[in-house]
Amino acid sequence: MADKKIAAYICQGCGLGERLDTAQLAKIAKSEGKAAIAKQHEFLCNANGVQMIQNDIDNEGVTHVVLGACSRRAKTDAFNFQNIALMRANLREGVIWVRPDDEDNRETTQEMADDYIRMACAEAKFVDIPESSNEQGLNRTVMVVGGGVTGMTAALETAKAGYNAILVEKTGALGGMAAKLYKSIPQSAPYSTPADSGVADLIAQVNSNDRITVHLNATLNKTSGAPGRFAADIRIESGATFTEQFGAIIQASGFKPYDARKLPEFSFGKTPDVVDQLGLEALAQAANGAPIKRPSDGKEVKSVVFIQCAGQRSEKQGHLSYCSGHCCSTSIKQAMYFKQANPDTDAMVVYTDLRTPGAGGEDFYRNGQQQGITFTKGEARTVTINDGNLTVKFKDLILNEDVDMDTDLVVLATGMMPNSGVDIEATPAKLDENCKDCSNDEKSGAVAPVIQESVLNLDYRQGLDLPQLVTGFTDSHFICFPYETRRTGIYTAGPVRRPMDMLQAQDDACGAAMKAIQVIENSSKGLAAHPRVGDLSFPRFRKEGCTQCKRCTVECPFGAINEDEQGYPQFNESRCRRCGTCMGACPVRVISFANYSIDSVGQQIKAVDMPDEYSEKPRILVLACENDAYPALDMAGMNREQYSAFVRIIPVRCLGSVNTIWITDALNSGYDGIILMGCKKGDDYQCHFVKGSELAHIRMSKIDDTLTTLNLEPARVATYEVAITDMHRVPQLINDMAATVLRCGMSPFKF
C-alpha cells in the first residue's frame, strides 16, 4: 500500500474552540505527532469540513486521519471515509464535557486534550489499513446435523434461499422425535384441537428438493476447517467414510427424553400403565383415533391422569432443574386425544403452575377446559399399583388435602435433555482437578450425569463439541444474540439450544439458516462475524518469537486457533472474532492485528506527556472496553459529569486483549494509577467475547507481583466490571483512583 501519510484535523465546534487552544493542538499534531497536515476547522462535521478532509485524502494522499473532535461514537455518518485509517481523539465527551469551564481548570483541561492528540497520532503511526488475507473460500453449502423437524426445516429454508444443504441423520430415517407424535400442538388460531405434525410432508419436501443431499445412518467422524471451508468425514452404516465440503454448520441434534426410570415414586417401569409423554404418543398412534387402550390389559382407558413436571423444576439429585416449556401444552393435547375419542373419559392434569404462555397457549388451555379436561393444582406424590389398578397420591393445593385417586392410566410429563454432545469444559482431566464443581452441578441437578458421545467431532484444539451452559444446552449470548455460539460458523437450533416446542424449533431453524448463509457470504470476503461484523483485521504472529506456550490456543474464547505438530498456533481467520484475547494472552507479544497491536496501544500509553514527580499532576491510565465501559464514559460526558483531569482513557476491543506488558510499561513510565474497565464475567457473562473479561481479571490478579517488585502499592491498579449504564459510577471510579493516588503519593518512576 501507499506510504503512510498522517493528517490531523482539530474541530472548534461544540465549544471546543472556546474551551481549548486548538492552534496548540494542531501544533502538537505536527511537531510531536509527525502529522504531515494539521488543520483547524470551526465545524468539522458539516459538509464543508468533511469535504476538506476528503480533498486531502483524494489529493494529498492522506492515509491516516486523526480527528480531534467528538467521541468515536458520535457523527459516524459524517466521518465516514473509505480506505483510510481513522483515529478519534475524544476532545468533547472525553475532555471539555467532563471538566469545569473555569480558569483554574483551563490548564489541566488543555493538557488532557494535548495528550489525546499525541495518543491519536501515536496510534496512527502504528496502525495499518487491514486487508483480507484471502485465506478463505466460498462454499454455498450448509451442513445440517440432525434430521428431525428442526434439521429438515433448516435444510429446506437454506435451500429456499438458494443455497445447498447436506442433511446428516444418525438414524435410518428422517423425522426425529416429531415422527413419534400422533399429532402436534396446534400452531395457529383457533388453537382448539391437536394438529397434524406435518412431518410426513416435511420429509417429502426434503427428499424431493434437489438442493438437499440426505445422508441417513450417518455420523460425523471428524469435522475440520472454518466458515467458508469446512470439511467433514462422514461415516455411514456400512462403515465407509467419505468427505463433504461446506461453508457453515447447523447443529440440530435435538433432545432425548428424560429417563423416567429415575422416578421410582411414580412406578414407571413397574407397570406398562404408567407412561411418559412419548409413550402416550405411541399408544395414541396405535389407537389412531379410536379410544386409547391400556397397555396392561387392553381395556379402554376410562380415566387418565397427567402428572406435570415429573422429574423437572426440581433440585433433587438426578432431576432437571429447568422447565421444558412444552409439557403443559403437550398434556392438554394428549388429554384431547382421549376426550375426542370418547368424551366420557375422565382426563385430569395435576400441575403446580400451568404454563401455556403466549397468545395460542392460553387459547389452547381454555379449549382444553371447554372439552372437559379437568385441571387440579396439586403436587403428585406417588403412583402405586393395587390389583392391576393405579392409585395416584397427590396433595390438592386448592382444597388443601391429600388425595388417593384411582385411575386407569398415568402419563408422566418428563423433560427434554439436549443432545449437545461432549461437555468439553468437564473433560475427565478437568473433573480430576476440581471434582467439586461438577459434582455440585450434579447435586444441583443442573446436568444429568449421562455419558455423551460427540455430535460434531470437531478437530478443534478446544474440544469435540460446542461449549455448554450449566444446564447442558449449548452456550450462546442467549438474550440479544441467541445464535452467537462460541464456535464461529456453527449455529445450533431447536431443543439442543433451549427446551422448545415444534413451532419455536422451526422458527429457530429458520434463524440458524439465516446466520449460516450470512457467515458463508462474509467469511468469503474475509469479513468478521458478530460482533465486529465486517472487520477485515485478523491476528498474525511472528513465528520466530513464538515459544509455543499455547496460551493463545487455550484462551481463545472461540476455539479459533489450532496448533500445528510443533505446537505453533494456527489462526483460522474466519473462525476468529477479532477480540484480541490471543494478543492479550501472548507472553512474548508476537500476536498482532494490522490495526490493533501491542504497539498501537502501547505507544499511546508512552505518548502521554508525563509531568515530573513534583508537579502534583499524576497520570491515571484507563483501559476501557469499547463495548460497554467506553459508552458509559461517553454518556457521563453527555450528562456533564466531571472526573479527574489526570486521567487518560484508551478504548480496547475487549479487556481480554489487554496484554500485561501495557500495565508494566505504564507503571515503568510513571503512571500513578491504572484502571481496567470490562464487562460482567461468570455464568451470566455480559462480555461480548464471552471469556475476555474473565481472563483479564485472572491475568490482573497476578499483576501484584509486578507491583511489589517495583514496590508500588497494589491499590494503584484496579480492575472493575462496568455496565454500560454506569454513567454515574465510572466518574466515581476514576475519582476514587485519583484519591488513592493522592494517598499513595506520586509514582517514583517518572523519567
Binding site: 429454508e157 393444582k377 440479544c480 422458527d507 451470566d684
Partner: protein
C-alpha cells in the same frame, strides 16, 4: 426532499426496536439492501426503556450499543425515523409502500451539543418515561438515541421557543420550515416489527391505577430504576417521594382475562421476578416483595431464575388473583384484598407500592391500517402463506421475551431474503 432509492430487491423493515434492528441487520450483513422505518425520533423501541433484562440482569443498552455500531458501520441499512407506513399495495416481490415522514425540525448538522434544549423553556410529558416526568420542547429522547440528533416537539413550532432554539444552535441544524413528506417506495419484501404496547392499566378498574398514586405499572417501574430515569434510579412512591421498600406485584394485570386481554403475555411473570431483585438491589434486607399470581410461567432456563428468587426469604408468593385494591386514606398505602387460594386465607395486605404486571398488546392494528395480512383475534400476525412477502418479526407475531423476539426476527430476515433472492433469480 429525503432521497431514498429502493427496488423490488429492497427489504423494508417497519419498526426500529430490538426485533426490527435485528431483522434489518441480519439481512444487511448478508449483503441485502434494507430500509429500516421507525415512527419515533430514534431507534431502540421498548427495550431501550427497560432497566435490566431477565434472566441475566444485564443492561438492554449493552446489546443495543452493539446493534447501533452494526448499523453505523453498514451502508446497506438506511434508517428513516419519524416515519410511518400509510399504505401498502402490490404483491410478493413487488410492493408499493407509501411512507409518511414527520418533520424533526433538526437536520443532519446537529452535533447533539444540547444548546437548543438549554435555550427553550416549555416542557411536555416525557413519553420515553411514560409521562413520569417532563422534557423540554427541544430534546434528545435519551442518551443512546440514534440518530444522535435532537428533536423539536411540533408543539413549540410557531412559538418563541422555536426561535430561541434556532438562535441557540451554532451548527445551523435547526430548520423550522421542515414539512411532512410523503414517500413512495418500491419494495420486494416487508418485515413488520411493529412490536407491542403496555396494556392501558387505567382500564383495570379494580386495581385503581387511575385513582391511587401508589399503584404503578411494571413498565413505569423500569423507568424509575434507570439511573437516567425520572427518579434518578430511585424506587419511590409517587404520592410522597418516599422510598418504596415493601412492594406488591399483581400478575396478569390485563392478561389472561376476557375482560381485557384474553391471551397470556408471557413476559410478565419473569419481568416481576426480575423486578423483585431490584428491591433487594436497592434496599438490601429492607427490600420486600410479595407476588400475587395465578400461575408462575417461568419456562426453560427461566425456571432456574424463579428457583433462585424463591429462595429469598424477603420475597413471598401468593397464589391469588387480587380482587381489588383500596387506598388507606391516612398514608396513601394501597391495600390489596383477596383470598389466598392455597388454604383459603382472606387477606387485606397493605404495601408502600403496588406494581401491576401489565400485559403486552400489539402496537399496530393491521386491520384498521388496511394491510392485507392474517391476524389472530389477539391482534398478532400469524404465519400464513396468504401473507406473501410480508412477515412478522418479534412481538408483532406473539407476546415474546427478547430472546424469542430476536430468534423470530432472525428467522423473518431469512424469509425476506428468500423472497429477494427469488426476485433476483428471476431478474437474473
Amino acid at each position: 426532499m429525503t432521497e431514498v432509492v429502493a427496488t423490488n430487491q429492497t427489504i423494508l423493515v417497519v419498526g426500529g426496536g430490538i426485533s426490527g434492528m435485528t431483522a434489518a441487520l441480519e439481512a444487511a450483513e448478508c449483503g441485502k439492501q434494507v430500509i429500516l422505518l421507525e415512527k419515533n425520533p430514534s431507534l431502540g423501541g421498548r427495550v431501550s426503556q427497560l432497566y435490566k433484562y431477565f434472566p441475566k440482569l444485564c443492561m438492554p443498552t449493552c446489546g443495543m450499543e452493539i446493534n447501533l455500531r452494526r448499523i453505523k458501520a453498514n451502508p446497506n441499512v438506511r434508517v428513516l425515523t419519524l416515519a410511518e407506513v400509510t399504505q401498502v399495495s402490490g404483491t410478493t416481490g413487488n410492493y408499493q409502500v407509501k411512507v409518511k415522514l414527520s418533520p424533526r425540525y433538526v437536520n443532519s448538522n446537529c452535533t447533539a451539543c444540547g444548546a437548543c434544549a438549554d435555550a427553550v423553556t416549555a416542557e411536555f410529558p416525557n413519553e420515553y418515561n411514560y409521562g413520569l416526568n417532563n422534557r423540554k420542547g427541544a430534546y434528545l429522547p435519551f442518551f443512546m438515541a440514534y440518530p444522535q440528533r435532537y428533536v423539536l416537539d411540533p408543539k413549540i413550532i410557531g412559538t418563541a421557543d422555536a426561535d430561541k432554539a434556532q438562535a441557540a444552535c451554532h451548527c445551523g441544524a435547526i430548520d423550522l420550515d421542515m414539512q411532512t413528506e410523503e414517500m413512495d417506495l418500491q419494495i420486494g419484501s416487508i418485515i413488520w416489527a411493529t412490536g407491542w404496547q403496555p396494556f392501558d392499566a387505567d382500564k383495570i378498574q379494580p386495581y385503581g391505577h387511575d385513582r391511587f398514586a401508589n399503584v404503578i405499572t411494571s413498565v413505569e417501574m423500569e423507568r424509575m430504576m434507570d439511573p437516567m430515569g425520572p427518579t434518578g434510579g430511585r424506587l419511590v412512591r409517587p404520592s410522597d417521594g418516599q422510598e418504596a421498600k415493601n412492594v406488591a406485584f399483581i400478575q396478569c394485570a390485563g392478561s389472561r382475562d376476557r375482560n381485557y386481554l384474553k391471551h397470556c403475555s408471557r413476559i410478565c411473570c419473569m419481568a416481576t421476578l426480575k423486578q423483585t431483585t431490584y428491591l433487594r438491589e436497592q434496599f438490601g434486607d429492607a427490600g420486600r416483595a410479595t407476588v400475587y399470581y395465578i400461575d408462575i410461567r417461568a419456562i426453560d432456563r427461566f425456571e432456574n431464575f424463579y428457583q433462585k428468587v424463591m429462595k429469598d426469604d424477603n420475597i413471598k408468593f401468593i397464589k391469588s388473583k387480587v380482587a381489588n385494591v383500596i387506598e388507606n386514606k391516612e398514608n396513601n398505602n394501597p391495600i390489596l384484598r383477596g383470598v389466598n387460594t392455597e388454604g383459603y386465607h382472606r387477606y387485606a395486605d397493605e404495601y408502600d407500592l403496588v406494581v401491576l404486571a401489565v400485559g403486552m398488546q400489539p402496537s399496530v392494528d393491521f386491520k384498521s391500517l388496511g394491510i392485507d395480512i392474517v391476524v389472530n383475534d389477539n391482534g398478532f400476525i400469524e404465519q400464513n402463506p396468504h401473507n406473501g412477502g410480508m412477515f412478522a418479526a418479534g412481538c408483532a407475531s406473539d407476546a415474546l421475551d427478547v430472546n424469542r423476539a430476536v430468534q423470530n426476527a432472525t428467522a423473518s430476515s431469512l424469509r425476506a431474503i428468500q423472497v429477494i433472492n427469488q426476485v433476483a433469480g428471476a431478474e437474473g
